[in-house]
């Protein structure tokens, strides 16, 4: 099949439909995909926020208390609330995707996807528990 086409009556022009820049608004699943990708922005924000916390602890107790006070201000609270939504969204979508990407064989048979997903959530609970125990001594 030749690549160059002479546009005569016998080689009619093909219709090429361009994709709009707003393709991600045209379908719900595309929009959710972009939201999932956008959650990475809030991942970066949490890194910044944690580093600010570390720096405040490095400086002095006063600095640490100031950081806690600042973190209670309405704008920061709102930002962190929104970030929490996106971080949780990131976690859920990542754990949803993991079984599709990882095929685990134990012995001879394949571990079902649901178990891989459950293992990830178990890891989340364990990691969260460890953090709480370390920080609050609970």
């Amino acid at each position: 099949m030749s690549e160059t086409h002479a546009y005569t009556d016998y080689h009619p022009r093909w219709l090429r439909r361009p994709v709009s820049t707003y393709w991600w608004l045209h379908q719900r699943s595309y929009f959710v995909f972009i939201l999932r990708e956008a959650s990475c922005i809030f991942v970066a924000w949490v890194v910044v926020y944690l580093l600010m916390l570390v720096r405040s602890v490095s400086e002095s107790e006063v600095s640490y208390l100031q950081f806690l006070r600042w973190s209670a201000s309405p704008l920061v609270l709102l930002l962190n609330l929104v970030s929490l939504f996106f971080i949780v969204f990131h976690t859920i979508t990542f754990f949803q995707a993991a079984p599709q990407a990882m095929v685990v064989h134990v012995g001879g048979s394949r571990v079902p996807g649901r178990l891989v997903g459950i293992a990830h959530y178990a890891g989340l609970v364990a990691a969260s528990g460890a953090v709480v125990w370390v920080l609050l001594g609970v």
């Binding site: 990475c40 991942v43 944690l50 570390v54 602890v57 209670a72 989340l124 953090v131 370390v134 609050l136």
Partner: protein, 106 residues
């Protein structure tokens, strides 16, 4: 691989950290750790290592994802090299900052 590692560590550690330091402590739902306790936790080499890993991997996860979203989603193709430099460069700078700050904990 950095991307998926970053995705996993951020998915495992960030929810609880954000719930605690972003909401629970500021809003007084839970008593924040005392300065001495937190300083002791942060100065522990294992904590520094874990936090550095979390920051570095998460930043590279962000860099890779953000760059691709701009390229595919918003179709900003003509600035491809600039965006790649800003994203990965930002991740490198951020990781270096994290290393420096974590090193500095007394």
């Amino acid at each position: 691989m950095l991307f998926s590692a970053g995705g996993v560590v951020s998915a495992l550690l960030m929810p609880i950290l954000l719930v605690l330091f972003g909401l629970a402590f500021p809003l007084g739902w839970l008593q924040p750790p005392s300065y001495e306790h937190l300083r002791a936790v942060l100065s522990h080499p294992l904590t520094r290592l874990v936090l550095f890993g979390l920051c570095m991997l998460s930043l590279f996860h962000w860099a890779h994802r953000f760059r691709h979203t701009l390229y595919d989603g918003l179709q900003i193709k003509h600035l491809n090299e600039v965006i790649a430099a800003l994203c990965y460069g930002g991740a490198i700078v951020g990781s270096a900052t994290a290393a420096y700050l974590l090193w500095q904990v007394p």
